[in-house]
Amino acid sequence: MTNAPANLGEPILQARGLAKSFLGLQALQDFSASVRPGEILGIIGPNGAGKTTCFNLLTGFLAPTAGTIEFKGQDITGVPPDRIARIGIARTFQNIRVFGSLSVAENIEAAAQMRHHTSLWETLIGGPGFRRSEAEVRARAREYLAFFDLTPYAERPAASLPYGFQRRVEIARAMATRPSLLLLDEPAAGMNPAESDDLHQHILDLRTRFGLTILLVEHDMRLVMNLCERIIVLNYGEIIAQGKPEEVRADPQVIAAYLGEDHSAGGASAAPTGETGA
């Protein structure tokens, strides 16, 4: 475990009784959680356990069937995703979604411009307001490119970069909106142990530098267990355990969910990998 949660004040995010069903399939039910500012909270569970559904609910890409979400004391249930982004929740996606044919710099600029608005008229005449805001957007994008070591690739189309770099572009893009809460959906997918260690350090740096709160969905157990201060375990759309990593790791229900009922007594061999179907 690294730093303790920086701040034990009011929760920054509070979900109460969230539920989502798709045509009768209960993808998530009675999901309640509160996230403290500065915390790194992990959400784990086998495939199909409802982790991504949970992220999509929290970021407005899906509307919950029941339950409420509060962000900084404000009810954000059912608010559309672009407005959720504007009030300070950013995310990445499990299947990488970079703007493929745009350059890496343009990817970041598109996000950095969120907090700079210029009127259409000002844009058309190319007036001082337009110039100032464009210069600011570009400068800010350069900052994030540098922070994520992407400067050498700034002019390349995002789709031409290797997988790991595209993930980095996605995180840089999310950060360029200057969020207070960041949701990372499997950021370590496809990474080797060295790259995942790198990512670990990067996430810690992000939190320190930007005072960020982080929610993490991840299958890489080493990363989750080392990085997160608290973990929520989902299975079949329900929370089956939550607590500190060592508590969760020892929970018989968690072991059962990952290794199957039959192995719950003796299966000490494998660490949970999340590869079991659900």
Partner: protein, 346 residues
């Protein structure tokens, strides 16, 4: 050189505009009717393809209905500039307020009425586009193509049946021939300027971002409808302007002029040049117009009529197969960097 960066930035476009002005003046003065006609045609298509690029290329919402806006712009502006006597003779059943309307005011020799008629028609068409867009821009992919094609068909049916206003399927004629090289290319430059500005701004980035990935765009605070609607409505405005220029160039036309044939031609230019590239659109328009003209001469000699359309269609198919992004993709030939030093591009 002691020029400021701003001046050097402006030098490229200025040189291009001066060169264009010089060429146009020579052609205008020379009295070579063929070249005048060709360049007017080119200018009108340039406006059409650049404004289509704004809505289709920038946002990826592929509209097939833009020529419908052109038709509305043509009929709308022609109704405003048609002399009262012609209105009385050809369109006896016009509503009274329209029958008495004639935009023929001049500022010295300058036909201000034509400018006003063009702008009024284009604004009205933009409002139509706003209403249509509010419904259709929610769609994407094939759905939007089919729905906007439906719009094109509806416009045609309305024009044919609104006998009192349009003479139906008969020719709408005796429109004053205001359009000349100056008008067309002035409007073409305005269109290029506006679309170029939009591309290199927050609005353009929002359009391209939601074209690339709708979810990712929303996740960084970009709502889908505003950039799409902006592109659609501004595109419709300039398309209507092109319609007005066209109407006052050929002076007589019927609803058939604004249909699949024209739609296909503009889309070919767009795809050849590259979806998302303004300079690509210019190149696409020049190539297709030039090629069509050359092929037409071959037709006249060989008597193989229709050959030009077949060849254009084949080129279109080849581009789709072998170079889907078109000649330029979404890259630009940046005139403002022409006279700039290495480090100044920021």
């Amino acid at each position: 050189m002691s020029l400021t960066p701003d001046l050097r930035r402006a030098a490229g476009p200025l040189a291009a505009i001066l060169g264009l002005a010089l060429a146009l003046t020579i052609v205008q003065v020379s009295g070579l009717a063929f070249w005048q006609g060709l360049l007017i045609n080119l200018g009108i298509f340039l406006i059409l393809v650049v404004s289509l690029n704004l809505s289709n290329g920038f946002t990826g919402v592929f509209s097939l209905g833009h020529v419908g806006f052109m038709a509305l712009g043509a009929y709308g502006s022609a109704l405003l500039t048609l002399p009262l006597r012609e209105k009385h003779d050809y369109l006896p059943k016009l509503p009274a307020w329209l029958a008495g309307l004639h935009f023929d005011f001049h500022l010295g020799a300058f036909p201000l009425g034509f400018l006003a008629a063009t702008i009024v028609a284009a604004v009205v068409v933009s409002l139509v586009a706003l209403l249509v867009g509010l419904v259709l821009m929610r769609l994407s992919g094939h759905f939007v193509a089919v729905a906007t094609l439906g719009f094109l068909v509806i416009v045609r049916v309305v024009l044919i049946n609104a006998d009192d206003l349009t003479r139906g399927s008969r020719t709408f004629s005796n429109v004053t021939a205001y359009t000349d090289l100056g008008w067309v290319w002035a409007w073409a430059l305005v269109t290029l300027y506006v679309v170029w500005r939009i591309k290199r701004s927050q609005f353009g980035r929002a359009m391209f971002a939601q074209r690339e990935d709708r979810w990712a765009a929303q996740s960084i605070g970009i709502a889908l409808m505003p950039p799409r609607l902006l592109a659609f409505v501004v595109g419709a405005f300039f398309t209507a302007v092109a319609g007005s220029l066209y109407a006052h160039f050929i002076t007589s036309f019927s609803p058939n002029a604004f249909y699949f044939d024209l739609t296909f031609r503009v889309i070919t230019m767009l795809v050849v040049g590259g979806m998302g590239s303004v300079s690509g659109s210019v190149i696409g328009a020049v190539l297709v117009i030039g090629l069509a003209e050359a092929l037409r001469r071959i037709e006249d000699v060989t008597l193989l009529y229709g050959l030009s359309q077949i060849i254009l269609a084949v080129i279109f198919i080849l581009i789709i197969i072998f170079r889907r992004e078109g000649l330029l993709g979404q890259r630009e030939i940046a005139l403002d960097r022409l006279f700039m030093k290495g480090g100044e591009a920021e």
